[in-house]
Symmetry: D2
Amino acid sequence: MNLNKLSTDGVVRFVREHIEKRDRLIELFGMKIENVEPGKADVVMTVTENQLNAASLCHGGAIFSLADVAFALACNSHGVMALALEASINYLRPAKKGEILKAMAREKNLGKKTGLYIVEVINEKGKKVAFFKATAYCLDEKFPSKDK
Amino acid sequence: MNLNKLSTDGVVRFVREHIEKRDRLIELFGMKIENVEPGKADVVMTVTENQLNAASLCHGGAIFSLADVAFALACNSHGVMALALEASINYLRPAKKGEILKAMAREKNLGKKTGLYIVEVINEKGKKVAFFKATAYCLDEKFPSKDK
Amino acid sequence: MNLNKLSTDGVVRFVREHIEKRDRLIELFGMKIENVEPGKADVVMTVTENQLNAASLCHGGAIFSLADVAFALACNSHGVMALALEASINYLRPAKKGEILKAMAREKNLGKKTGLYIVEVINEKGKKVAFFKATAYCLDEKFPSKDK
Amino acid sequence: MNLNKLSTDGVVRFVREHIEKRDRLIELFGMKIENVEPGKADVVMTVTENQLNAASLCHGGAIFSLADVAFALACNSHGVMALALEASINYLRPAKKGEILKAMAREKNLGKKTGLYIVEVINEKGKKVAFFKATAYCLDEKFPSKDK
């Protein structure tokens, strides 16, 4: 697959399908990719029994994973392999079983080798659940590097 | 259960068992709690198919979740309910399927209302995989608040 | 001074003047407060010789300080004493001597005890220089606590 | 100046003197470099009138700057130009006028292109004042790039 021959839309679709098929946390947590555009991605997840912590609230690790998947889609959406260097998350409101969380990743900056992304996580009422920020490091490889 | 009547060891054991039984990510990711002491916790996880991202490496969300569970054990180990306000993670080296990751949480500071914890994640060869840092906010409640 | 008797505008003005007069980094770095509203603040600083690091670029500490002052104005603007628990900054582009930096602080969330703020730092051409995020902890005191 | 011909000690001394002479925040805040070794640096600062915020406590920007200078010394100590990509700080205890703060930077990891550093800031009684963490990005240039 030569990404150079694809349109911008084609690259985005290729990256989305590649990640959708292979990222195991998408399946494990029942995430749904709602939208991907260059530098943008929205991913949705319903809080189920599987995501709960000992306080019966949505696990910080599950909220982080949701945001991380949206971030991965956004930072790879240009067709260049990118890896997370670091990420941080602020928890704003607990989420309970049954809540539908949406993570909205947006590119804040794209430099030569690194990019900055923020992801806002809200529930179905629009209440803010978490704020995530991450730095991507762009490799010198087309995405996905070893795909045939 | 009145935690006031328990010894320090008893409190730690009670908190560990409570979290071990109820935290669903421990089961989902196959984590094993190796050790808990006041302000400390070690948790282990083998990278399996379930934890992989689209690049066939251990998912950032899975590494974060491992560190987060160690952090939760450490910050609740004093028997007072604590919640994460924020956390950050630096990824230092990718982990592959089959690697055994260990997260070691240590209390750096404990104030009146908040505590600071760092968690180092290493693989079975002692190589550094990730560095995690988080702020806990201590509630005015004994742990676990609603347990009978 | 009883802040309860002031209008929202009055509280904002009082807080702004209090900080403007007493915060020594404002003077040391030649910052100018452009605007303060509830949950918002814009602060400007010209990069001079005094702010340079060893690479003759604006010092990370000076950029952080600029963002921190904007954050302090925004999180105290409601008339309740607030302190920083933690802050993080991503550097997006170096700033040189003579550049005019503007820090724009915005409240992302205000809970019972904590608030989340982001600050974007741009230069006079609108180019992004830094992205700052911080958690404020609200004390149970009117601002400023000991003022007469 | 050809750093390749210098011993490890010589490189460290060269970097230290270069930064000491040119970093303007060292002079502005009255910092003293106590020690630099490969991947390590200790820097001291007394809290004076100049460093105070509106609450008459040491300014978050001044504490960050102290930690940032220690970090810069540590991450440049190998003789390769390094820049900060991101940094975060947790404030653990306020510092008052007259307190002597010491920032101790330590390299946690050094990869091909990035390094991770933590800096602990304590006062003269050994009490923890702040915890700082930063990612350095190593340029493909000897330090300092344009020095003759």
